[in-house]
Each structure stands twice: as structure tokens, then as C-alpha cells.
Amino acid sequence: MNIDLTRRGFFGLAGAGAAATTLGALGFGAAEAAEAVNVRAFKLTSMTETRNICTYCSVACGIILYSKGDLAASETAELIHVEGDADHPTNRGTLCPKGSALKGFVRSETRATKPRYRAPGGTEWQDITWDAAFDKIARALKDDRDANFIAKNDQGQVVNRWLTAGFLAASGGSNETGWLTYKTVRSMGILPFDNQARV
């Protein structure tokens, strides 16, 4: 766009502009109106709350996951925020630095979200189904137990030991989960049994 403006006209306009802003600064006329003051919009409104247990350590702090979109209503859910559950007797809402940063853990690009398999000596991971993963684990356990199970010791006493396999359980589970895990593992005769609380 061309503006037809003489040199004299240009100086005139510039001068008028400077005069107007100067008058403004001197207090004539209202100062430019400021944007309405408002605090940041509250980001949890209408979120879905899901109670859960922190995955990290054996303290097993209660957490609340706040997500947008309701899975129960067949929507896609996106995790927006995680914070401690003030109603949980373990932590009463508090969290450690790792727990406070759980959102980053959940949304991490490198997080394992599906079962994968790497063959002995292999270098590549391949995706497998949960069914295939459970079958593989069950097969390996059964073969190992059949080969190495000790029913009686040297003195002929019944011991029912299986010493060549170990089990690493989750320390963050509830009492009920712990009871079930313990019964499952011990009923197979596994002795090496631990959880990440001692890691």
C-alpha cells in the first residue's frame, strides 16, 4: 500500500503522535486499559479422578490421577495431573520428588506399555501379545520346575523346594495383593522371593 505523504505532512503527523503520547504520560486522559486481572484457569475442573498407588517404592503412597476424557464412557483419556491423595492413610496427600513427577513417568516416550520379547542372544525387541507372553512365562517356569524341583532332601524329609527360579513382586500392592502373591509363589515352592523395597 502506498501512502501519499509529503515530508512536511510526515513530520506533522509524527509530532502530533509524540504530543498525544506525552499528554497521556503527563496524566491527561486514561492510561491504556490493562487486561482484566485473572488467575490461571483451574486445570482440574471436570477431570476424571482415578485413585491409584504410586509405582515407585514400598511406601505405597496413595495418588489421584486426573485425566481428561472418561474411559468408562468409551472416550480416550489423557493424563493431565497426578497428586497425592489426602485421604490415603499412608501419605495423607504428600509425595516425594519422584512421586510428584509421576506424570512425566507415565507420559514418558520410553515407558514400556506392552509386552516385548528379545530372543536369547538377540539384539532386537519384538512386540508380542499378552497371551503369548503369559504362555512363554508359564512354559519356562513349568520346564524349569519339572527339571529342578526338590521334593525330598538327603534325609528323605519332604521339603518341596524350587531353588532355580526367583520371584520379584511389587512392594506397592495392597495387603490382599500381597497375600495372593505370597500364596502363589510359595505354593510353587519358590524360595527366592523379594520385592523392590530392598532394591
Binding site: A19, T22, A25, L26, A31, E32, A33, A34, E35, A36, V37, N38, V39, R40, A41, F42, K43, L44, T45, S46, M47, T48, E49, I64, Y66, H81, V82, E83, G84, D85, A86, D87, N91, R92, G93, T94, L95, C96, P97, K98, G99, S100, A101, K103, G104
Partner: protein, 328 residues
């Protein structure tokens, strides 16, 4: 009609997800930068405060994690510069920072690890707000929270100079000033700040200022009974008191805690710049304008009178005569 959120009394609560009307309104602003005439609010909110008991702090940085999580900031993965601090300094992506000081106490000959959570102190008389030239970029609510309104910020950095605690940081990306908001968005919904909720040892607590002072007194009494004779509350009166207070074991020497100012004051240059210097400058501009106008009205272009023409002719002739004589 949605209900209005309650006033906050504690950080140990689960935030609501049902729609609630905010309880921290534009009409609750008592002071705004570069806007001297604010309509007085029709109500007075209860003053709130965050109390940081450094004697209970274990330096775990949960407050930093919770702060970044709630405020959706993402501090860059930095480099280890040989400090416990991580990141090394406050930034526009890290509103609060654990500062670690090692102090050899000459009285006991023991090493003390003094850990302080640094961040905005939410002064009753905020130096940043006084220094700020952008209308409405920094506001103070009647509950004591000092908040930055990014839409009005021009990124000049005067608030950084004005702050006695060296807290605000200018975002190199958005070119606006940033700092802890005391989670004003949570407070507006009746909640406490994210750091206070997360703190595993409850070294950070939140509530009404009155309740926090009472809590601090209990803590100080306890610390004194354990041999910290100089334990006390840090609520510096040089800035009118603060809405983030510390319980210190060495309240007689706040500077031990990574340079916490012993007696913070708003720099006199801020007052001079915004007060007398501004008035003098504006007066000079006004006088210049008045002078220019008077000059335009009274001064007239120079007139050439017939005598001037005669004089000029005489001068020209004399010059020509001299030139001829020189050539001859």
C-alpha cells in the same frame, strides 16, 4: 449456578473436579503496578501464608517436582555444576529452588546443613510491584498473594531490580517475567499450593497467616527446647512482612541460609525512579512543550527592513572592491 469455592485453610486436601466459581476475583485486587487508583475491594479476604520450617526440611526437592508438575513448567536437563542445587538457579521454568548451605557452627564446632526453599516471598509491600511500569502487570490480592499478569507484562525486568530477594526471572522465550504465584489458581479453588501439599515432612505448611504464625511459635518453642536458642520466625518487616515465612534455627543470622537478606528493603533507587525522578522528567517534558508553544505564539520570523538591504549592498560592494584591488 455453580457454588463459590471456599477460602483455603490448608494444603492437605484433594482439589475439586466439580465446577466451582473462583474465589480470587479481579475485584479482590488491592494494588496493581502503575495503576495508582484502584477501586477498593468490597470485601477483605483472610490473609494467607506459607510457612517453611527449614529445621524440618530434608532437601528432597519434592516441592520443586510438584511445582513444575502443577505449573506445567519444564526445566531443561542441565549440567552438574558441582552444586546440590538442581537446576543451578531459579528460572522462568523453575519457580522454586532448594538452596543448600554448609555452615560450620563456631559455637558447637559442628557442620550444619542449612537447606532453604527459595521462591517468591509474597511481600506485603512488594518491591516488584512498585518498580513495575506496566499497568496491571503485577497485582496484589487482599489475601496477600502477589501475582504476575503475563498479558500485561512488557518484559522490561524492572521487577527483578525491585525485588529485595532476587526472585523474578524473565522468560527468554515468552519475554515476560515469571515467579511463584503461591498457586493462586489453587487458592482460588480453596486449595493450598502444590509444594505445601507434596512436602513429605510437612516442612512447608499453608493456611491463614494467623494460623501459620501460631504454628511457627510452637515450632520455635520446640527448637529452643532442643538447644537452638536463636530460633525464630522470618517475617521481615522491612517489606511489611511476607506471605511466605520461614522458621529458622538461626533467626539472628538469616544470611547463613544461602544469602537470605538479614533486613530486606526495597532499593531506594526504585522509589526515587518512580517518584521524584519521574516527576522531574515529566515536568521537564511539560516545560519544553509549554516553551515550544509560547515560542510558536510570540516569536515571529525575522523581517528584512530597507536599511538592512542597503547595508547588505554596501557590504557586498566593499567586498567586491577589495577583491578587485587584490587582483590588481
Amino acid at each position: 449456578m455453580t457454588d463459590r469455592a471456599p477460602q483455603p485453610t490448608t494444603a492437605a486436601a484433594n482439589p475439586p473436579v466439580q465446577p466451582l466459581a473462583s474465589n480470587l476475583l479481579p475485584s479482590d485486587v488491592v494494588r496493581a503496578s502503575a495503576m495508582p487508583h484502584i477501586t477498593a475491594p468490597d470485601r477483605q479476604l483472610t490473609k494467607v501464608a506459607k510457612l517453611i520450617d527449614v529445621s524440618k526440611c530434608i532437601g528432597c526437592k519434592a516441592c520443586q517436582s510438584a511445582c513444575a508438575e502443577w505449573n506445567d513448567t519444564s526445566p531443561e536437563i542441565g549440567e552438574n555444576v558441582g552444586l546440590y542445587e538442581n537446576p543451578a538457579d531459579l528460572s522462568s521454568e523453575m519457580f522454586t529452588l532448594m538452596r543448600y548451605a554448609e555452615y560450620e557452627n563456631p559455637a558447637t564446632n559442628e557442620l550444619e546443613w542449612l537447606i532453604r526453599k527459595e521462591g517468591c516471598m509474597h511481600c506485603e509491600d512488594p518491591g516488584c510491584l512498585r518498580a513495575c511500569p506496566a499497568p496491571g502487570a503485577i497485582v496484589q490480592y487482599s489475601n496477600g498473594i502477589v501475582d504476575f499478569i503475563h498479558e500485561n507484562c512488557i518484559g522490561c525486568g524492572y521487577c527483578v531490580t525491585g525485588c529485595p530477594f532476587d526472585v523474578p526471572r524473565i522468560s527468554p522465550v515468552k519475554h515476560v517475567s515469571t515467579k511463584c504465584t503461591l498457586c493462586s489458581d489453587r487458592v482460588a479453588m480453596g486449595q493450598g499450593p502444590a509444594c505445601a501439599k507434596a512436602c513429605p515432612t510437612q516442612a512447608i505448611t499453608f493456611g491463614t497467616k494467623e494460623a501459620m504464625i501460631a504454628h511457627a511459635e510452637e515450632r520455635i518453642e520446640d527448637l529452643k527446647s532442643r538447644g537452638y536458642e536463636n530460633a525464630g520466625l522470618y517475617d521481615p518487616q522491612g517489606v511489611g512482612g511476607t506471605h511466605v515465612m520461614y522458621v529458622l534455627h538461626h533467626a539472628d543470622q538469616p544470611s547463613l541460609y544461602s544469602g537470605l537478606p538479614d533486613d530486606p528493603q526495597i532499593a531506594p533507587i526504585v522509589e526515587d525512579w518512580k517518584g521524584p525522578a519521574k516527576k522531574v522528567g515529566l515536568a521537564a517534558i511539560g516545560l519544553a512543550a509549554v516553551g515550544a508553544a509560547l515560542h510558536g505564539i510570540f516569536a515571529r520570523p525575522l523581517k528584512v527592513e530597507p536599511e538592512d538591504e542597503e547595508d547588505a549592498e554596501g557590504l557586498v560592494e566593499a567586498a567586491e572592491r577589495r577583491a578587485r584591488e587584490d587582483r590588481a
